[in-house]
Symmetry: C2
Subunit: 307 residues, 2 copies
């Protein structure tokens, strides 16, 4: 077994994914712990890596994501776009805690195509990782999409994040399914259902209608018997995803191939929403991208003397 | 005191408004009780009118709203549009319960401008009432708007409801403010705030962006310090209301004067959202319209022998 050299941590709002890595960034062990939304970061981190500490001593740790936000362990200021992915290592906040070197990666901020400020924490590490895993993406213009609670559409030009746009697609679907009457008494989302396919089509055909004026159809279709109640969540999910794609097409130039950074299943859903707009997509695994980004940041900092 | 002749009940999801009326529809007394979402309608109704029963005997009751839905007392099928407001009385479900004559008004269904089925229960009674209170609206084409949990935009032609469109504006704002991170730690909505005015303007300028791609600005503006956290709910509310107006302008012909059926305060908010689109609005009190509708339905049924 090669020697453990550092710990990489992808610390989002709801989950911390930890990797014990050797000098070359190979993963020797994995662990999971609670997200950055819960206080007590230092203690929770210590508990999560206690077994590794016992075996290898207190290895340096590189952490990315919401751990650097106002609700995180230490706040790290955003880098403002355009920001080169390679700049993340140099802007990481470095500190010592309880005999361990810790680095927290900054997030990015920009002015979105809507004119509003926008922010990300964690996706910038995935972008960097994607550019390391597929170096050809470091040249020219490429659009990345990280679907999730707060979906990000990201324009990368010659390896620099030029601009991005957030949509709370996952969060909107969650709060509407759980707390509104729109998908009451529905079954779970079935992405291979007729309702999902029809919902995507309905969202696309209604180009002039805002999502707001499509949502009630989830209830009205069930109430009038056009659709079984059990299908309401699939329909609702398709509306949100369909309008996420449609609005991104309207606001960004999606020519070329959109790089979906997520699970294959989620990428397949977005692909179905994008194809009717003649937009191609390809998938990169989100966890692998985050790990590759953290590993690269550690390597870059180590080159500059960080231990 | 004139003699009590009947009871009118505006029974929505969350509240029952009861009116004790004389033969001419003048209100002699008022009462309130719980909404139609709670089971046990017959018993709850009996309890709410027990004092009136003791004084006047068991008077006939005309009820409108969600009381006629699948979650109501008795389900009354929808009338499909185009439906003349005067047709509501003839289509009311009449039954006797515990020695009392009861009539429940049907709701309306239509195919919305989006192509989806749409439904209403309660607003049709307000439309009828508005046409009784302002008879000149019974000729020609008029657009009504009932903002609320499920906002309705309604096209009335020569006294008949031709088509309508629902938007869950109130519900969307509620679930996002309570259950998402978008307006976390915000103060209440201040309609006279700079944030509200700027939010309306932001929604209007971003014509190509779906509401979905504007929502995250509520959080990003607060996180980046562009806006105090306390203003996030005002900003979020303005986005929803602004896109409700913008999408209605895009989907319906709003030329003429939109008749807002609601409180003056809510009508004033929509007026601010509509004015930049050169759309005029006027307000009719929502409770008064509902009462006038129920009173007219009772009178029409009584003319046809209902007791």
């Amino acid at each position: 077994m090669t020697k453990a050299a550092f710990i990489a941590g992808d610390w989002g709002t709801t989950r911390l994914r930890l990797y014990l890595c050797d000098t070359d960034g190979n993963v020797l062990a994995r662990a999971e712990a609670g997200g950055a939304a819960v206080p007590g970061h230092a203690d929770r981190f210590a508990a999560a890596v206690a077994a590794w500490d016992a075996a290898h001593g207190k290895l340096p740790a590189v952490l990315g994501g919401m751990v650097g936000s106002t609700i995180g362990w230490r706040e790290v200021p955003y880098l403002h776009c355009p920001a080169h992915a390679e700049a993340l290592a140099g802007a990481a906040l470095r500190f010592a805690h309880d005999g361990r070197s810790i680095a927290i990666v900054p997030g990015l901020s920009c002015t979105a195509p809507t004119g509003a400020p926008d922010v990300m924490r964690g996706e910038e590490v995935q972008i960097l990782g994607a550019l390391r895993l597929q170096p050809e993406l470091g040249r020219g213009r490429h659009v990345f999409c990280m679907p999730g609670t707060h979906t990000k559409w990201v324009v990368v030009e010659d390896g620099a994040v030029a601009q991005f746009l957030s949509a709370p697609s996952g969060e909107l679907f969650e709060v509407l399914s759980r707390h509104s009457v729109l998908a009451r008494d529905s079954g779970p989302v079935a992405a291979d259902s007729e309702a999902f396919a029809q919902g995507l089509d309905f969202a696309r055909r209604n180009q002039k209608a805002d999502l707001l004026h499509l949502l009630f159809s989830a209830r009205a279709r069930a109430v009038t018997g056009v659709m079984p109640k059990a299908d309401a969540a699939s329909w609702l999910s398709a509306l949100v995803l369909g309008k996420d794609a449609a609005s991104a097409v309207a606001l960004l130039d999606l020519s070329g191939t959109v790089r979906m950074v997520c699970t294959p299943a989620l990428a397949a859903l977005y692909d179905r929403a994008l194809v009717p707009y003649a937009v191609q997509s390809a998938v990169l695994d989100g966890d692998a991208a985050a790990l590759a980004g953290l590993v690269h940041i550690q390597a870059a900092m180590t080159l500059n003397g960080w231990r």
